[in-house]
Symmetry: D2
Subunit: 455 residues, 4 copies
């Protein structure tokens, strides 16, 4: 998972790098491993990027060195341990037309195959990042295209997977969303002269911008001093927004493809309460994901939902946990129950999902130690059974608790008094007003595109 | 404001420095400017301290260099701009008995006068920190005392102000709380062999400890292999815990002098709803302080209280805001309303207090821009009119919005439809089960001790 | 200017990264702006590189992360202000055969033209470093070559300029020297199983290796478990080693193409003394370049040559000189005369060259202030009149003092009592036993290859 | 060993911190572990100090934060492994008169005893640095003295050992040298309005100052807007400048107590040649200490003395040498012979001293491997047999090669063809024009003051 953000402005007084900095700050939840900004200044594109959180990577003087009229930024989460410095986006490249910068949220599932073909054609690569494969394709097609948009159109015919892309070329700020619309992307405007492309609408709010619309699945958007041009690259019949954007990834204050993420979570909680009601005294959500769901569950059940589990807001990546019971201590440092809300009570504990279940297991024990009489676990998404190949995590089935264990086994292992999941039908209808359908392959094992055998 | 944490263990397998590290992590909200740990290893005390957050200051190898059987830690918030490196606590000193480490939460209001007297007596100081004055007094009295506790008893006769202190001496882990108990301090135990002294009970939870009891106002606690000794240094008739511990400072999962902070805030919300009810559609608390109050207000009013205002959890000290409207952008980066919960609705906005009011003003505007029909501001503490001399902030009256403006003026300036505060009687009774009375001088101007004229 | 160093070993107990680290340490004088090491471990090449001196860039743990059997390193001096991070060498690339690492000392004068052609062919570039152009050519030619050496042979037909290159491919450690041999490159061996390719022989000494021979102009050397293979890519009639390797660049303890650099400098001093003798009391060389020349001058003149001018060995890049007369203070911090060797004496001051002359001017004044009766300046190379395009510095003629001023003007401006240069014939014969001829274009304006008009 | 530097100026345009920075840069050879500057600005003294070399510790902005009219600086070499941050000088203290800053070169041998007495008197210490003991004494005596100079006079009655001190008080820049003058200290002036106190005269040159005179043994110097005052605190009959200042410590371009260090070393070489002549082809000095001695030896012997052993000027503290034969590799990285000056020749190798002998042993082997026919070792100081208690190093006798081994044994172990030392009489007369006598206790075991039994 990653976050992308692009800005173009006709107004020379707008500080492009600073706007991107604010945008990335607002998208920080989409990636904490690295951050980067690239800004176009006439013919050149300068950049600054490094490992770390946005405020760690960028100091005032770094932004001061990035003047210009258009730029893009990227925050990255990499599941594969340590990210190589060379892989940090945006990638900045020189090609036949001048400089290009490119940043992507998503995963190109046929990247290795394409990379091999390009290498056989005499191409060299600096990174192991599949975004570089996209750049190589664009560069190659550009020599025979009249316009950059033609090159993009050629490129998308070759690539498969999920991708929401922002790019800077010598002329345009570009946004591109894959034909299934697996990853979100939207457009905003600040004061008329400034355009924004962002992974989430909340980041448009952060720069005091106005949300215009989502980029549609398979749509190419080109922005320059003439405003926004659009080209539909595909005749998309079916959209497949990752359902986990509503379950967990996106900020609750974002509107994704028409649906409020906050509302989707509150609704999931309501539906869960209807499907699997509990006689209980208090509903407690596991922050941050479970908070809104707990609120919905509580509303529907007519039970109270206080902030009964505290999350230490200073816990970040840097946490040291040197000894053996480190994992358990890490949970204790991160979460602490409010005893007066738990003691002697029947508790409904709400989480957005269970992946490996170790944190949930520790939390259930902590609630019991704080005096909870009963702990009923309710999960705001169906069992996570199948691996995701579109950018979430490429974990094998083995790590997914629900792929090999049934509900009863999991409930017993976790130590809850009962365990229930929202139904598939339930989660599908939670995001009200959604203009798109959803990719639910992690629940069903049915993928919207063919997955190469190498995975 | 600061946080202190001390650990002593008879069990040699306990990693003292690591326990303090976890404790400080849990107390991080009490101070983000600097952090330090000092650990006693036989005759010596080694330390590590620096500016920054706990996970920034301490790496694994720093903790590895601090073996021993007893230690203390400190996190500091300094209102006076940049903290000098020399002032970072714990202070570690060599004196007649060996090494001493000392860390304090609070403010010695006659420190300058005492410092002058000590200098006239041939004493030199390395820092401008009033904790060093305490150490100098202890050192001086130690040469004529049979026991360290006698020296402490002499010292407390001279010093005035608020102080919750942890110390390491060649023999003891010491805890000391001022006679009015202005700052909190409590004792815990881990597995029998390990004792903990902490500013808040939540930090005892973080090290998987068991809360024993609060240190009482005017009590000196000495811990060594024989267990806990206690000496009452004062015959305290009146206690004066800072009411803002319940309003804002302490974690909601802490129990301070008998009262749950979470419950105190929920109650404050309930009382506020009774005292100043509103016809509204939604109650929204400003995180983090207003969340519990909003829940209480909503319960009492039978209105819903969703998480309608999002706080960016990555916003820390390092935020860059270079240009002129930086202050407003900083608020936008920090907070964002969930539009679907606000649009077309009558909103009750709950905050714990108003100091300068600039953030509140911006938030009210943001809610209106998000479509709120009405915004009624309700504050969970009485007007903050008088400066605090006990460690919160020594701001002059001029900066306190309520010291020169009446409610109507403030309401108009902030742009709310109505503004009401909880009553003095209301906030006093909010912390149920409290075993202590409160210092409310910031509301009343009546201070529990005489304030020197220099202030 | 730069330094390159490569190591291959059949002996698995040899720590390749550590050997390269020592080699780069010994080549540090050839570049202080950045340093990098890339090591091949089976199919992969890992690397570590950054701005800074070798001991700043590499910590023990960085080397520990670079296991393998072959690797290369690079130190870079960039005349063009701040070096971009992306340009730091070695470049590591993935191409049709696997991973490649490449590092270069020299300057490809037709790089821009080649880059343009490659871009027109659909190639993209990540850096502005001309070494990437070489990599792109190799990658392109590799798809139609049977062996990597064939690709190299094709590449060298296209490129013009100076280049001493080390490379790692999936099979070989490669060394390549341009057909004129402008930059030095040599081969060594450690204990039979380990081969070294280095810019200078002194770096082979540093790893306790044995010098085998120089790589010859136009020679391609390929090293693997079968030992050294060689291929002559050109029928070179004329070699053109940069004369400044003997005058200034190379370490005095290196042997370059048969000639001892130390001896060359001592000889230059002797010849200078014969050509332009002075009646004087003491000969003082400006460290480091003038020291050996002063010794030779003194020997020939039968005058003493004490260490009369001290160079502060701690002066590095980090020197702060904030105010207006900073430049002069910088010289004072860097050099100081030994007064007892100067006072009342007629001094011969020896320097290797005059480029801009500002340091020399200050030194002459310092010697006079220290009591020198006369200061006669003798320069161990002919007037530096013409810009160099081969890697030394691409400064325009305007900055070269001798390009626009005659000897008398310069002598007067510098404030010396007399000024003489070694003759062209003199400097040419100074490097005794040299197996190559020299590029002397900076003295003559006659370049060994055609210089593109863009310069 | 350490270096101290102080500046006072009536001229407000003089940047005190910058002058001290340049001075410390010039004194860097006296200490590479830490550096600090403290500057008085009206009533306050601000400071900046850290571990590291001068250019690493101070950036432009650090100096900018230190305005004022008087200041002192310090560079420290600590033999005892890692220096504690608290011990870095200058120490800055608040006492009855205001702020004081103090920095010292030397060693107070009765510091522990004094510290104990002060602690018994109710004093506390922040550091283990004996300079803090001096500050405590001054602070104590100041309360009963009319003037600071009276306090200093009282202090010096109590302290024993070597000390050259610079101090800032609310009124004065102070310089103080111990009654035996063991460590050097001198006074300079820049343009009339600015005074400088420095460990060495070369640092006065570095700030373009004029040497006035040495501070005399037992002299107290006080500088303010009225100029220099002097008070002789002792009737000194015998001075004892550390002979190693001339042998090794001081820069060759310094004049110490009347004698040129460079000349002293050249003379030592001449005397050594007379006392122990060799039939040889070349004289090679081990840089940096042996260079001047080799020149003198060569002059006297009528043999040549080229720069035959190169010292890598980039070798600093940060050198990594991870594996077992690290020590030998470290020597190889640091030194390399110029083969053409060694091969087939009879070499006289000159070093200033032998302490442990391991480097010398490796160098002799390296010269033989480079083809030397004979290697005759000549040492410019008598055998170093007894430990030094005055600041050089408090190494026990066991580490001193000459304390337990006779000349023949050492020669054989090192592998030289012959080994001779300069005589005691020889080294004593080498510093011509010296106005002082010397401490030679490391050669004789006769110490100028009684050494406490604890050592």
């Amino acid at each position: 998972m990653s976050g992308v953000f692009g800005v173009y402005s006709k107004d020379k007084s707008v500080n492009i790098a600073e706007q991107i900095y604010y945008g990335l700050y607002a998208l920080q939840h989409r990636g904490q491993q690295s951050a980067g900004i690239a800004v176009r200044d006439k013919d050149l594109i300068e950049w600054h990027k490094d490992k770390g959180l946005v405020p760690e990577v960028f100091k005032s003087q770094d932004l001061d060195k990035l003047p210009g009229d258009a730029g893009i930024g990227h925050v990255r989460y990499s599941s594969s341990g340590d990210v190589s410095k060379g892989n940090i986006e945006p990638l900045v490249l020189k090609y036949i037309s001048g400089y290009m910068a490119i940043a992507k949220n998503g995963n190109i599932i046929n990247a290795n195959k394409l990379r091999g073909k390009l290498e056989a054609d005499g191409c060299m690569f600096h990174t192991t990042n599949d975004t570089e494969v996209l750049a190589a394709l664009l560069t190659k097609f550009r020599i025979s295209s009249e316009h950059i948009e033609d090159s993009v159109e050629q490129m998308v015919k070759y690539i498969q997977g999920s991708y929401s892309i922002v790019m800077i070329t010598p002329r345009f700020l570009i946004g591109l969303r894959d034909p299934l619309g697996i990853m979100p992307l939207c457009i905003g405007r600040i004061n008329g002269a400034t355009y924004v492309i962002s992974s989430e609408s909340a980041a448009i709010d952060a720069v005091d911008g106005e949300f215009i619309r989502d980029v549609e699945p398979g749509e190419l958007v080109l922005i320059d001093s003439d405003g926004i041009q659009s080209r539909r690259l595909f005749d998309c019949k079916k959209s497949s927004l990752c359902i986990f954007e509503h379950v967990y990834f996106a900020r609750p204050d974002s509107i994704v493809d028409g649906a409020s993420t906050h509302d989707a979570r509150v609704n999931a909680g309501r539906i869960l309460a209807k499907e699997h009601p509990v006689q209980a005294d208090v509903v407690i959500g596991i922050p941050d994901g479970g908070t809104d769901m707990a609120y919905g569950f509580a509303q529907e059940s007519n039970i109270v939902a206080p902030a009964g589990l505290l999350r230490n807001k200073y816990v970040g990546r840097a946490f040291i946990a040197p000894n053996q019971n480190a994992r358990e201590i890490a949970v204790k440092i991160k979460f602490n129950p409010v005893k007066t809300e738990v003691k002697g009570k029947r508790v409904v504990l709400i989480d957005d999902s269970i992946v490996r279940g170790t944190t949930t297991k520790t939390l259930v024990r902590m609630l019991r130690e704080a005096g909870a009489k009963e702990v009923h676990l309710r999960i705001g998404s169906p069992p996570y059974k199948y691996p995701c190949y579109f950018g979430v995590d490429t974990s094998s089935r083995g790590q997914l608790l629900a792929s090999k264990n049934d509900k009863e086994t999991i409930c017993e292992w976790i130590g809850a008094d009962s365990l229930e999941y929202i139904s598939y039908e339930g989660i599908i209808k939670a995001p009200v007003n959604s203009k798109v359908d959803f990719c639910t392959s992690c629940f069903t094992g049915v993928y919207p595109v063919d997955i190469p055998k190498e995975f």
